[in-house]
């Protein structure tokens, strides 16, 4: 009976603490936690109606980032036929961007080519998931990556909703994550667009302030309502991305995941994560206190067990 009482007492304390955390924490988190991106940050608007699949962007990226040689030259268009486990090519430690072909049956200008690289989210899931802060969302809009602090845990690869970060499995000594950094160190921070943007003969990609690009994209849609799908992918997806896309065929047909929703990935774990520090810091002290309170007579007197419990019951 006495035992039972103490347990109830502890349970009550626990419940009260949890209730306080649960009612107090989520509201401010929801109000202050959503980061819509830096004002005036830069972005890239990609218009797939313009891409001809020449792979110049891949070549430019390889050169700019000093990546290893590819298996095939960049003018070899047989890469569009490549499939790995039924999947088209994706980014890797040797290619931060790839162009894939999506055949269309009734499109006047033939297949659609889709350029793929890091989307540089406003609220990157990779950054959120990284426990050593290897990722930085720069005010210019890039999601930069610091390989010096990366411990190679690959959580970011799991977290990314677009499956972008790749891993240098080829490195035995110091494997790190590899992904597009929007040419931040060599170009973006000097006010220049990424190398792929500049290399494109069709100027498929428009570089500018993200806000302006959104307006510009909707303007294009308004002026060509029969041509474009009335949607800019990345304007709102997972909280918005710096790279955004326009197309004349539905995005699902180009391998885009259209079920990601508009909430940043961090929103799904924010409520839980706010409680973690409390559990780790407050609980040990709290329960240690309870324990010491409950047994405070026991150590000094060296009496048998029931005694301290009787004390507790009185108080």
């Amino acid at each position: 009976m006495k035992n039972f009482n103490r347990r109830n007492f502890l349970k009550g304390g626990l419940a009260t603490g949890l209730a306080a955390a649960a009612t107090g924490a989520p509201k401010p988190a929801a109000a202050s936690g959503t980061f819509g991106g830096y004002p005036n940050s830069m972005g890239v608007l990609v218009d797939f109606t313009r891409c001809v699949g020449c792979r110049s962007c891949e070549a430019a990226c390889n050169k700019e980032q000093g990546l290893p040689a590819p298996d095939k030259p960049f003018d070899d268009l047989s890469v569009f036929e490549e499939r790995e486990n039924g999947q088209q090519r994706r980014t890797s430690e040797r290619a931060y961007t790839v162009v894939n072909r999506y055949d269309q049956t009734d499109r006047k200008s033939g297949p659609v080519f889709r350029k793929f690289q890091c989307n540089h989210c406003n609220e990157p899931a990779c950054l959120t998931s990284c426990f050593v802060n290897a990722y930085t969302k720069t005010p210019e809009g890039a999601v930069a990556y610091n390989s010096k602090v990366c411990v190679g845990c690959r959580t970011c690869m799991v977290a990314c909703p677009f499956y972008v970060p790749a891993y240098s499995y080829s490195s035995v000594i110091n494997p790190v994550v590899k992904k597009c950094v929007m040419c931040y160190d060599t170009r973006l921070k000097f006010g220049r667009p990424p190398a792929c943007v500049e290399a494109c003969p069709q100027e498929v990609m428009t570089f500018g302030h993200r806000d302006d690009l959104i307006n510009l994209g909707h303007e294009r849609i308004r002026n060509n309502p029969d041509k474009y799908v009335d949607h800019i992918y990345g304007e709102k997806e997972v909280g918005g991305t710096a790279w955004m896309y326009m197309s004349d065929v539905p995005f699902e047909q180009l391998g885009f995941n259209t079920n990601l929703g508009n909430e940043p990935i961090i929103s799904y774990v924010k409520d839980f994560l706010t409680i973690v520090p409390m559990v780790l810091t407050i609980w040990p002290a709290l329960f240690t206190g309870f324990y010491l309170l409950a047994n405070r007579k026991k150590a000094g007197v060296g009496a048998e067990k029931p005694e301290p419990k009787q004390e507790e019951k009185k108080s």
């Binding site: 050169k63 040689a69 030259p73 047989s78 790749a166 499995y169 003969p201 069709q202 428009t206 303007e219």
Partner: protein
């Protein structure tokens, strides 16, 4: 539609002729040949046959030259302001479409004048390719990169032309 596209393509190319600054008979049909060499870093200059393209366009300069030749522009965005077109005496593509579209200086200037329509104005490379290549693709003209642009040694290096692709089916070891 297809034929008129071709024509417009021709006219566009004609505008390129103006780039070269050739002075022979500019007022009526433009130069016969235009040398396009703004991609000289990676490609040999293109000898653009303006005269042939003028014929293909049936002399309708506006097919390629937007609003600068006195006819109404085809692009709805341009029409917002340049309604009936205007003969401003500026016909060369590069007089409007900047060669250094992606240099920090140009981008900074663009930042000062946030005219949305001009923000979307392609640079010279984009303007030419979109005008030429779109027409070539739709009308069966040559559309491969090197059909028009012979690559130089630096271009070969950029595209890693030295690499011999492994035979099909062989695993590459890449991820």
């Amino acid at each position: 539609m297809g034929l008129s596209r071709v024509k417009s393509f021709m006219i566009l190319i004609g505008s390129l002729g103006f780039l070269a600054g050739a002075g022979n008979g500019l007022a009526e049909t433009g130069p016969d040949t235009v040398v396009l060499d703004s991609l000289a870093e990676f490609y040999e200059p293109v000898q653009f046959n303006h005269a042939v393209h003028v014929d293909l366009a049936e002399g309708k300069c506006a097919k390629c030259h937007h609003h600068t030749t006195g006819a109404a522009p085809l692009e709805p965005r341009c029409l917002e302001c340049h309604k009936g077109g205007s003969d401003g005496g500026v016909y060369a593509c590069r007089d409007c479409h900047p060669l250094k579209r992606f240099e920090a200086d140009y981008l900074a200037a663009l930042d000062g004048d946030r005219q949305r329509f001009h923000l979307d104005k392609p640079g010279l490379k984009g303007a030419l390719h979109r005008n030429c290549l779109t027409c070539h693709v739709e009308n069966g003209g040559p559309a491969g990169c090197q059909d028009c642009h012979a690559r130089n040694a630096k271009g070969d290096a950029l595209f890693r032309a030295d690499i011999v692709a492994p035979p099909p089916g062989q695993p590459t070891g890449g991820h």
